[in-house]
């Protein structure tokens, strides 16, 4: 990555828009757990520089959109370089690569090399690659087929009864009312 030029004078967009883009990028890079402020500032300014060029070509999009887009492109290029021999597509590289950087302890160990595709420490690349290689245990598929249980004749009769009652809620509640009525009637007969 080239030395950062502190002077930033975008040809297009308002100061307010670029300030908003700056603030968003600051939050965005902080979400990568990059606690090294100098490195974060370098990254923000480099991204803004690229975003300014992109905005000059396409001012219909906001500087914030261009900034995040540029950050994404920088990340993709950087990860592609690290994972070039792992046979992953772009989407996989992007997802697994971000995770690999975190799992390898990248934010704390190599903050200065984050998104720097010209200086890739070998140990960082290896640690990032090792982190994405870990996956679940290989499946050893077994058949676990349920076998029907012979429930016997009582269950057959009960099943038919419940099935009939289940299909006719009116019948079900009529039987219930008859039963309750019968008990109450019996009580009445005994108590009168």
């Amino acid at each position: 990555m080239e030395a950062v030029n502190i002077q930033f004078a975008p040809a297009t967009g308002t100061e307010e828009e670029w300030n908003e883009a700056y603030a968003r990028l600051a939050d965005y890079f902080r979400s990568y757990q990059l606690h090294n402020r100098i490195r974060r500032t370098q990254l923000i300014l480099e991204t803004l520089r690229r975003a300014a060029e992109a905005h000059a070509k396409n001012p219909a999009r906001t500087p914030t959109e261009h900034s995040i887009e540029q950050a994404r492109l920088m990340l993709r290029d950087w990860l592609r370089e690290i994972y070039r021999d792992l046979n992953l597509n772009d989407a996989q590289i992007e997802a697994a690569g971000r995770l690999g950087f975190y799992l390898s302890g990248g934010p704390a160990r190599w903050p200065h090399f984050f998104l720097d595709d010209e200086n890739l420490p070998a140990d960082m690349s290896e640690a990032m690659r090792a982190a994405v290689r870990t996956s679940g245990p290989g499946m050893q598929v077994s058949k676990m087929t349920p076998r029907e249980i012979d429930l016997g004749i009582v269950s057959d009769v009960a099943e038919d009864t419940f099935d009939t009652l289940g299909r006719h809620p009116m019948l079900r509640y009529s039987i219930l009312i008859l039963m309750v009525g019968g008990v109450l009637g019996y009580l009445y007969l005994l108590l009168r």
């Binding site: 908003e20 996989q92 050893q140 676990m144 249980i149 429930l151 269950s155 419940f162 219930l176």
Partner: protein, 722 residues
């Protein structure tokens, strides 16, 4: 589909299966006692009722009385035999602990064992901190190499799912346990918990010889896990080995009373159960080790005929799996474990009833299986006892209603024989209810089995008397609710699969208590009025029941409260007095997480969702774990519309289905990450503006929100790399 054979298979191996001669003798002894006790009670009741000949209502009363008395006798003799076993000088020859020599206790554990934890929208912190404690405890034993851990998630709340993923990753990172702890999320939770475990068995079961099944609130020590594997290795005839999980971590009176009762009375009941169940014990669904090969071959559960609640998917799968395992020729054994196996219980009475509602339906389903062909007779008895554990409440209610009716239509008691029968029956019943408890309390006073110090023994005795009050107050309320559950099940009202609450987060919910318990109090009022009209004497006789019903609301609030007597060392358990290391580690870590400053409630509510879209690492993790699908279930236009609403209106504007559709699509999840970060403030919902501003101010690391922060263990690979 093949049909299971109509006979129980011959034993696969004899080691671990009690010799049939001993099993027969034990069962003959036990059921003779139970039968005699039941017969004596029923005879006395008959003598009392039949003075003027038997009326229909008296026959009905007697019919309800028989199963109730049988159940009372079963509990009584189980406990008494248990106390005898605990005190007899010669140890139980069938005790599986004795199958290992002291040298074998130290031998390396070589059998591959999977420790699986099926979860469903559980407290993420509790799940993963529990696993951490088990993992560390195993590592301390030095025999952890052949264990793998599997978190089998069926969670359908999106935020929860994301938090599970990130907690898993962080735990693996902290423990350097990648390749040892695995996380699997099912897209469709077919057949609930049993389906979840079966899915594991189908995919990975052949890799392991044993599987230890845990609940989300389970905790087991490494020492006990190793011992269980060694016992299984030494006893190839055992298919399932069930430990005795003791309740821990309760903070309410109900929870503490339950855990105290379990600690004090549990070992005696466990020993008694082991005495007569022998090789045909029950599986309780968790804290047990299972021999995987016969489990996979024989224990897949077919759906029951008909629709829910009686038919369909088997809810209480554990009893059936135990019966199937026994049918396949393998023993199902209990292992009396005074320490090392733990679980948590429901904190409030309402939570307990919610759990019972589910268990009730599950047990009632076993009605079908009672008459199925080929079960071992003991498996049928286990099913029957499961059914009776809830149906007996309805029988008790019917018994009391019939008693009320008989009191309203009294016939004079003239014969001295009848009066004597009534008095004897009362004495016998009181003895059956209270003697086991009194014996166990006396045993503790004399032997100091639970606590050595005389002061603690005395306090345990007092606590034992007090817990009788609590259980007595709750019993009639439980009777009414369980009766309702049984009737609901018969009427076809099924239950939903809901997450269990295991901690009381924000005090007692009075509204919930009032809404649930007012019918019980109303029943108490109505019954009291009827009893008053019947006769003041009858009112006095039934008043213990009626007082409990009338006081249902204050009792529910009282037992669900946090005044638990801990200050006075009441209801103290050994785990509270000196927590085992596995529990101490977990509690320390839970306290650390609990003590943290929380984000705004809205952000906490959607924390997982916020993280997956804002955090580049969690976004990467989620996309990496999602299975990439060629075709998506919904149209791209539909997803675009949801994306727009999520950005402009916030996550609260989306339905759970919409969130689910979005979160399952890798492209949408990736794109949303960038779209949210690149949107101008005026395009964002207030939720996202706050989230973006506050996100980096939150926890120290993106993955550590739900986990204790511990220094990661550094792997050899990283050591070499650095």
């Amino acid at each position: 589909m093949s049909v299971i054979g109509s006979l129980t298979t011959n034993l696969a191996a004899t080691q671990g299966m009690p010799p049939p001669r001993i099993a027969r003798t034990r069962r003959a002894t036990f059921f003779s006692f139970v039968g005699l006790g039941t017969l004596a009670g029923v005879w006395l009741m008959y003598v009392y009722l039949s003075e003027h000949g038997m009326r229909w209502s008296e026959w009905a009363l007697l019919a309800a009385f028989v199963p109730l008395y049988y159940q009372l006798n079963t509990g009584f003799w189980t406990a008494l035999i248990g106390v005898w076993l605990m005190n007899r000088p010669r140890p139980d020859p069938l005790d599986l602990w004795r199958s290992l020599t002291p040298e074998e206790h130290e031998q390396p554990v070589t059998a591959g064992t999977a420790i699986v934890m099926p979860i469903y929208n559980e407290d993420v912190t509790r799940v993963f901190e529990g696993l951490r404690s088990i993992y560390l405890s195993l590592q301390e034993t030095g025999h952890a190499a052949n264990y793998d851990f599997f978190i089998l998630s069926d969670s359908d709340q999106t935020s929860q799912w994301i938090e599970e993923e990130s907690a898993w990753l962080e735990l693996c990172r902290q423990l350097d346990a990648f390749g040892r702890i695995f996380y699997r999320k099912r897209r469709k939770p077919i057949n609930r918990k049993s389906g979840n475990v079966s899915d594991f068995c189908r995919r990975w079961g052949r890799r392991y010889r044993y599987m230890v099944v845990l609940d989300a609130d389970s905790l087991m020590s490494g020492g006990l896990l190793n011992a269980m594997v060694r016992i299984m290795e030494k006893n190839p005839g055992v298919g399932i080995l069930q430990t005795f999980p003791k309740q821990i971590g309760s903070e309410t009176l109900l929870g503490r009373v339950m855990q105290f009762a379990q600690a004090l009375y549990g070992p005696a009941f466990m020993a008694g159960l082991d005495y007569w169940q022998c090789g045909e014990a029950n599986f309780w669904g968790h804290n047990a080790i299972i021999r995987l090969d016969p489990f996979i071959k024989n224990c897949a559960l077919p759906p029951l005929p008909g629709k829910e609640p009686f038919g369909g998917h088997i809810l209480s799968h554990d009893f059936v799996e135990a019966a199937l395992m026994r049918k396949a020729g393998y023993a199902v054994r209990l292992l009396n474990t005074p320490r090392g196996s733990y679980e948590e219980g429901p904190p409030t009475l309402v939570d307990m009833l919610k759990r019972d509602r589910r268990w009730c339906q599950g047990n009632m389903q076993h009605f079908w299986l009672l008459f199925a062909k080929g079960w071992h007779p003991m498996s049928r008895i286990n099913f029957l006892h499961g059914i009776l554990s809830y149906a007996s409440s309805l029988l008790w209610l019917v018994f009391l209603l019939l008693a009320t009716f008989l009191a309203a239509t009294p016939l004079p008691v003239e014969s001295p024989q009848s009066a004597l029968a009534a008095r004897l029956l009362l004495g016998l019943t009181v003895m059956l209810i209270f003697l086991p408890k009194a014996t166990i309390l006396l045993d503790e006073l004399i032997t100091g089995r639970v606590f050595k110090s005389p002061v603690m023994r005395a306090l345990t005795f007092v606590s034992g008397l007090l817990d009788t009050v609590v259980f007595t107050l709750m019993a009639p309320v439980l009777m009414v609710f369980h009766s309702r559950f049984v009737i609901y099940t018969i009427l076809g009202k099924g239950v939903r699969w809901v997450t269990q609450r295991r901690k009381l987060d924000s005090g007692v919910d009075w509204v919930e208590v009032l809404l649930n318990f007012w019918p019980v109090s109303l029943l108490g009022v109505a019954w009291s009025v009827v009893a008053w009209f019947v006769s003041p004497g009858f009112l006095l006789w039934i008043s213990p029941i009626l007082v409990c019903l009338l006081a249902a609301i204050p009792v529910a609030v009282f037992v669900s409260g946090t005044r638990t007597g801990l200050r006075f060392k009441l209801f103290l358990t050994p785990e509270e007095a000196s927590p085992p290391q596995v529990l101490g580690t977990m509690r320390e870590n839970l306290d650390e997480v609990k003590g943290r400053i929380q984000l705004q409630p809205e952000l906490e509510r959607f924390h997982g969702l916020m993280q997956v879209f804002l955090d580049p690492y969690i976004n990467g993790l989620h996309v990496s774990l999602l299975r990439r699908r060629r075709n998506i279930d919904v149209s791209r236009a539909y997803l675009n519309e949801i994306e727009r609403r999520l950005i402009q209106e916030g996550p609260q504007s989306l339905t759970p289905q919409e969130i689910k559709a979005m979160i399952h699509d890798t492209d949408t999840v990736t794109n949303l990450h960038y779209r949210l970060w690149s949107a101008a403030e005026h395009e964002l919902a207030p939720f996202w503006i706050t989230a973006i501003r506050q996100y980096n101010l939150g926890s120290g690391g993106p993955f550590a929100h739900t986990l204790a922060r511990k220094e990661p263990a550094v792997s050899d690979a990283f050591k070499a790399a650095s």
